[in-house]
């Protein structure tokens, strides 16, 4: 059942929040043995929160929009009483968080019930959620394959039906890549839209946070619950809430859509290319656009991430190199040593690229691009074939997402039905602050039958 259906059944009294939570906890106990999405299950807290929802209903009080809906969060979000692991065993010795992250607070204020914390790549530097300390999160649709990353636990928990909603973070594609590989919906809002307060950082100038869901309407309701300014995140824009769910129009009338070609076709495998074409067809969109210097912009995102990420962990790399995740410690170290000139030029390139792209949104509301070059790859693989070339897997799953997040544009990741035997998604990209257009486009694809989330049971 999706989040809105769960909330409706509780509101009507057909179900109780307590029963929904017990069922979710039982499902997690059963299903997560295979998937390994959860690093902590907050059963006691979930039961308390569910009881509070049921008490509200019994008292005849109005229920908030996500009342009784089980959700879970990537383990870089603070959860009161849990240690914020951020995927690293180095963090396990830290004291538990004393309060919830702002987004966790907002989910709970909307009535959602927290059932646990979710696996991720160590310190969010990766695209496969192959975590040496906490194990790999398996793709629910093919358990020998990756769930994507770094929010792999979040996508897998939703794709396997263990939760209806999850939160993740996206610096270079960490919501969009796992959403694509696990076949769920994800939203990376505009940079600065949602506060990161109480979440463990990776790259301050690129870190975004956002939700996963099984349908566009759930994604919109969840995103609406998360919106709002927060002064404790200096990058969070002080903007008013702009609700998107009420504006999910019954059709895509008036939406001007184009498909990104050039770089985005060159790095798309056959299934990704098919997904991009199908999405465009569903809008009757035949315009194709080539953005300038996309490969350089992707390189800029790479440089900024390596440099800021490496600098963040420089002290720990010096003091406890062996405690770091073997998959990424050398990348962090090499990043910490990058010359300042590379970093500054990368930051200049970012602003330059946004100036090139922004005018496009006078002609188009939504741009379509594939989300990942390929569908889920086998766990343990280091390379994959892409249009006849052998490319390194760990850095390359984000080839199509990095240029977009580098300039902070809002993107909905949407699973496209039937593009191949395994799930694969597209990015629906809009102008800054126009998440409403991304979500409208996602809802249209869903209604047209082009987009579909299939829960792996």
């Amino acid at each position: 059942m999706n989040a809105l259906a769960i909330a409706a059944s509780i509101r009507s009294g057909a179900d109780s929040a307590a029963a929904v939570v017990e069922s979710a906890l039982a499902n997690i106990g059963e299903r997560d043995r295979e998937i390994n999405a959860f690093t902590a299950v907050t059963a006691d807290r979930a039961r308390r929160e569910a009881a509070a929802v049921d008490a509200l209903r019994v008292a005849g009080q109005p229920l908030p929009p996500l009342a009784g809906v089980p959700f879970a969060v990537k383990n870089l979000f603070d959860v009161a009483g849990l240690t914020t692991l951020a995927g690293s065993r180095l963090n396990a010795a830290r004291p538990p968080a004393s309060a919830d992250a702002v987004l966790v607070e907002r989910m709970c204020a909307a009535g959602a019930v927290l059932v646990g914390a979710l696996n991720m790549d160590a310190y969010a530097y990766g695209f496969t959620t192959e975590n040496t300390a906490y194990g790999a999160t398996r793709n629910p649709h093919a358990t020998t394959r990756t769930s994507g990353g770094s929010s792999g636990g979040s996508a897998a928990a939703v794709a396997s039906g263990m939760v209806a909603l999850a939160l993740g973070s996206d610096t270079n594609g960490s919501i969009r890549v796992p959403a694509s590989l696990c076949g769920v919906f994800g939203l990376k809002p505009t940079f600065g839209r949602l506060p990161r307060t109480g979440s463990y950082p990776f790259v301050h100038s690129l870190d975004h946070v956002g939700p996963f869901a099984t349908c566009a309407a759930d994604l919109a309701v969840c995103y609406d619950a998360l919106q709002g300014a927060d002064e404790d995140d200096p990058a969070c824009a002080q903007r008013r809430v702009e609700r998107t769910h009420p504006a999910l129009a019954p059709d895509a009338q008036g939406l001007r859509v184009a498909r990104l070609a050039g770089y985005f076709d060159a790095y798309a495998g056959p299934e990704a290319h098919t997904a991009s074409l199908r999405a465009a067809e569903a809008f009757g969109a035949f315009d194709e656009i080539e953005l300038p210097e996309v490969a350089r912009v992707r390189a800029a995102a790479f440089v900024i991430s390596a440099s800021e990420g490496g600098t963040l962990h420089r002290r720990t790399l010096r003091d406890d190199y062996d405690g770091f995740e073997p998959h990424n410690r050398d990348r962090f170290l090499a990043g910490a040593l990058m010359p300042a000139a590379w970093y500054v030029q990368a930051q200049k390139l970012r602003r330059w690229f946004l100036d090139q792209v922004r005018p496009l949104f006078e002609r188009y509301d939504v741009l379509i691009a594939p989300a990942t070059p390929v569908s889920a790859t086998p766990l343990g693989d280091e390379w994959f074939e892409l249009n006849g070339r052998r490319v390194p897997l760990r850095p390359s799953l984000g080839l199509l997402t990095q240029p977009v997040s580098c300039i902070g544009l809002p993107v909905a990741a949407v699973p496209i039905a039937g593009a191949g035997p395994l799930p694969i998604g597209v990015q629906l990209i809009a102008a800054p602050w126009r998440e409403d257009l991304c979500l409208r486009a996602a809802a249209h694809l869903e209604r047209a039958g082009t987009a579909r989330c299939v829960i792996a049971t």
Binding site: F191, S205, P432
Partner: protein
């Protein structure tokens, strides 16, 4: 940048940041750094106007 050049740079930069690397670590990190240098070359070789502003705190 060759691996040998990367090793020289990494060793010097690590010393400047008080990061001590074993010979084995130095080799691995230098290999990553050499790949980073190739990627950074794409960034550095684009000529931008002198007035181009960096975006350290980025608000689109």
């Amino acid at each position: 940048m060759t691996i040998a050049e990367a090793m020289l740079f990494v060793a010097a930069a690590a010393r400047a940041q008080e990061l001590s690397l074993t010979a084995e670590q130095l080799q691995r990190v230098a290999a990553v750094f050499a790949r980073n240098a190739e990627i950074a070359e794409m960034v550095m070789s684009l000529e931008l106007p002198e007035t181009a502003e960096p975006a350290p705190t980025f608000l689109p």
